[in-house]
Amino acid sequence: MRTNRDEEFRAFVLARRADLVRSATLLTAGDRHLAEDVVQATLTALYVNWPKYRGADNPPAYARRCLVNALIDEKRRPWRQRERSIDVLRDSVRPMGPLGGGHPFQAPGLDHDGEQVEAMYEALRALPPRMRAVLVFRYFHDLSVADTAEALSCSQGNVKSQAARAIDRLRARLSGELTVPHQLNGASHV
């Protein structure tokens, strides 16, 4: 038997699942299996708490918070050893080429988008999950500092400092100039 909850949820999944997967892919730094797990956990939590989601002051922020919580929960599972594999990857990151030799984030001798994407994933992997989330919400979703803080249940000051640190680390990691939108409602100093 279909219920209103079912119909609304189905419409939500059709409309928003792809976006959730895209966000989760960035939040998991390109780990698509983990991203799918995180999205499934997020959607399950949303279905169970559907009245709360519908009644939330800011439903999209509620959904984003569920996504981050699901990511953190997934990473706490003892049978996941992904953090260890991240450490290994961290040591094997291929340094990107210097400025002036083609695309600034392009590895020497490599010339396609796949390499750039992988370099970005590797840079994201080097960030702690919440710092990564700040980066994704601020510069992928273009959320304001306030909305990012709401999604992550933290202070706006914390968002600003985390964003600044994330950008610094990305710059160091990617060995190139990185422009960052600074008009996004009180963006950090970068």
Binding site: V13, R17, F105, V136, E177, P181
Partner: protein
């Protein structure tokens, strides 16, 4: 020079989009199963949100428990390991099974997460972790503290347990200086689309052996927080006894709600 936003979009766009109908169906089925587990709380297995560390703790504490729930969603802070206790309470004399079980003072060690002033005569604290306190009859065949059938189970209610509409008979009950809600847990529902495996698990479980059904109590314990009680009908408690028992149960800061 490269733009961070552009790079992030390029990375995110590298994944497939547009969910197929079967994917949506699967998402819906998972949600339904989780909601069913939330509503049928504690009749069958461990709480949905039982933390992974808690599951690990149970495995250590109860050697025969080997069926941890890999599908569970760990939430909140890492919980303390579960513990079991064998504190025996009062009488072991034969009793009339239809008679109400009286309350006696609890004299054992207070379990972390929840404390109790009184327990049913002849019952023991069988297990406790931040998610639930389980009290069972002395000598109960089911010694698994993650199995709640026929036992008193108390935990911090999650939002779903607080908000869910309960169709059965219910009424307000004064407990100390707060008003609680006493209700009857519904029996597990019939199979639903996409939830066959879960329902088979539910129907394979024993039911509480009582004619009146298992009752529940939602007890306010602070701003927006509730304790939820599962009270098997075999206790034959009247409202006054339920209130007296509930008034003696207290939640500590270590308590965690099982995610719905």
């Amino acid at each position: 020079m490269s733009d961070l936003t552009e790079l992030l979009h390029r990375a995110a766009d590298a994944v497939p989009v547009a969910p197929a109908a079967s994917v949506v169906d699967d998402d819906l089925a998972r949600g339904r199963r989780a909601l069913a587990r939330s509503r049928q709380i504690r009749w069958t297995a461990a709480p949905i949100g039982l933390g992974a560390a808690a599951v690990a703790g149970l495995i250590f504490a109860v050697p025969h428990l080997t069926t941890a729930t890999p599908g569970s969603v760990a939430v909140g802070d890492a919980p303390a390991p579960s513990t079991t206790t064998t504190t025996t309470i009062s009488s072991t004399a034969p009793r009339n099974l239809d008679a109400a079980i009286s309350l006696v003072a609890y004299t054992g060690a207070q379990p972390a997460g929840y404390t109790v002033d009184r327990v049913p005569d002849g019952w023991v604290v069988q297990g406790v972790d931040p998610y639930s306190l389980v009290i069972a009859p002395v000598g109960a065949k089911d010694t698994d503290p993650s199995s709640f059938v026929g036992k008193i189970t108390i935990g911090k209610a999650n939002q779903g347990e607080i908000e869910v509409e309960r169709p059965g008979p219910q009424h307000k009950l004064r407990v100390g200086d707060v008003t609680a809600r006493l209700f009857t847990f519904p029996r597990p529902e019939g199979p639903q689309a996409g939830a066959r495996a879960e329902q088979q698990r539910v129907h394979a479980s024993p039911r509480p052996d009582d004619p009146e059904g298992t009752r529940g109590l939602l007890l306010p314990v602070g701003k927006g927080a509730y304790l939820i009680f599962q009270l098997p009908g075999t206790l034959h408690w009247d409202d006054a006894t339920v209130a007296a028992f509930a008034a003696g149960v207290h939640m500590t800061p270590r308590a965690r709600s099982a995610a719905g």
